[in-house]
Symmetry: C2
Subunit: 208 residues, 2 copies
């Protein structure tokens, strides 16, 4: 495989997804760090060569003139896990895994990760009026996402049954630090047991 480089901010759960996927698969992955708080992913050079969308993570495959760049954390995980047991081969199971990954980007990340970013990194005192006005809606939507996950995990060791898949890797990062966004995880016992299960996987690495 061509050399792999992750363009990342180590505080980002979206970046951690990709590092966790590589670790579970035993794939070497170099990193190049950016500080999103300082706008380092919005420079003209970054926009022109790494990601026109101005966001990390981006997975770089290859180097120099042949390098290809893959934005979107869950798409990068898919690239790394191609042909591995982290992606079920069965038609329904594969689509059902993607269902949880789209749920993560639509229902989970914009609420749980955004509140963590606002409250833990930006600081409530520094939020705009408009951000402050959205806290309660994001709190409720985040709790609904956690409740749905908790109910599903009552009957499943992992999101797609008895084995870990990319669905777990997509949902783990921002869930296990949800308390930094003001979400209490003690109300979700099945999530807590699932977190312990993920942390016990061979090859697991912790988030920076």
């Amino acid at each position: 495989m061509a050399p792999l480089t992750l363009h990342e901010d180590p505080r980002s759960g979206n970046c951690f997804k990709i590092k966790l996927t590589a670790a579970l698969l035993g794939l070497p992955l170099a990193t190049r760090g950016y500080d999103i708080m300082k706008g380092e992913t919005r420079t003209p050079e970054f926009l022109a060569t790494v990601n026109a969308n101005g966001r990390i993570p981006v997975l770089q495959i290859g180097e120099g003139a042949d390098a290809r760049f893959l934005p979107e954390s869950n798409a990068a995980c898919w690239y790394l896990a191609h042909g591995s047991a982290l992606i079920p081969a069965d038609r329904f199971a594969q689509a059902d895994m993607l269902r949880w990954m789209f749920f993560e980007q639509y229902n989970h990340e914009p609420n749980i990760a955004t509140l963590r970013f606002w409250l833990h990194f930006v600081g409530e005192a520094n939020l705009s009026e408009q951000q402050r006005a959205q806290i309660m809606a994001k709190r409720m939507a985040g709790c609904a996402a956690l409740d749905l996950m908790n109910k599903h995990l009552a009957n499943n060791a992992f999101f797609c049954g008895e084995a870990v898949t990319l669905a777990d890797i997509a949902l783990f990062p921002y869930t296990h630090v949800a308390e930094e966004g003001g979400f209490g995880l003690r109300d979700y016992p099945h999530i807590l047991r699932w977190i312990a299960r993920v942390q016990a996987l061979p090859g697991f690495i912790a988030m920076d």
Copy 2:
């Protein structure tokens, strides 16, 4: 293949994605309608049997006791297109297609589809203060998404090169009716040409 039923609201672009995928593939697809404005996807029966997340679309595969339910529009499209030319086989191309589908759920739909829902269906006069306060941020984020698409389409007939894939099907529905959300498409000539290209595909069906 087991009989396929789409649980839908015909006004939803997310539902249209699945119908368009089935049409392009020539797959028969029954429909069962719900009115999301009347809360028909939040009834105890719907939550217990169709989708605990209370949302449509849901693709039902099979009937009776063997029925399986697949929420999330892009996951349902993936299920339908499994093994077809709508999903490229190449490792990078497949991940790059998913990249646009995750972009659609994270950067496009919450801005462009939400403004269409608020302004075209709910009506600006009926919005809450909090919704009204978000219009400008969603307008700017929606324009940024359209701008990124327009630039990409300057050099590509479809999102993943010269042939239609699920990335196009995911992005088409809310883009082609973006003017209902107050977005002017005349500023995005490459998007307009891409819309015409999608509409000219064999098997194309229009949104209700």
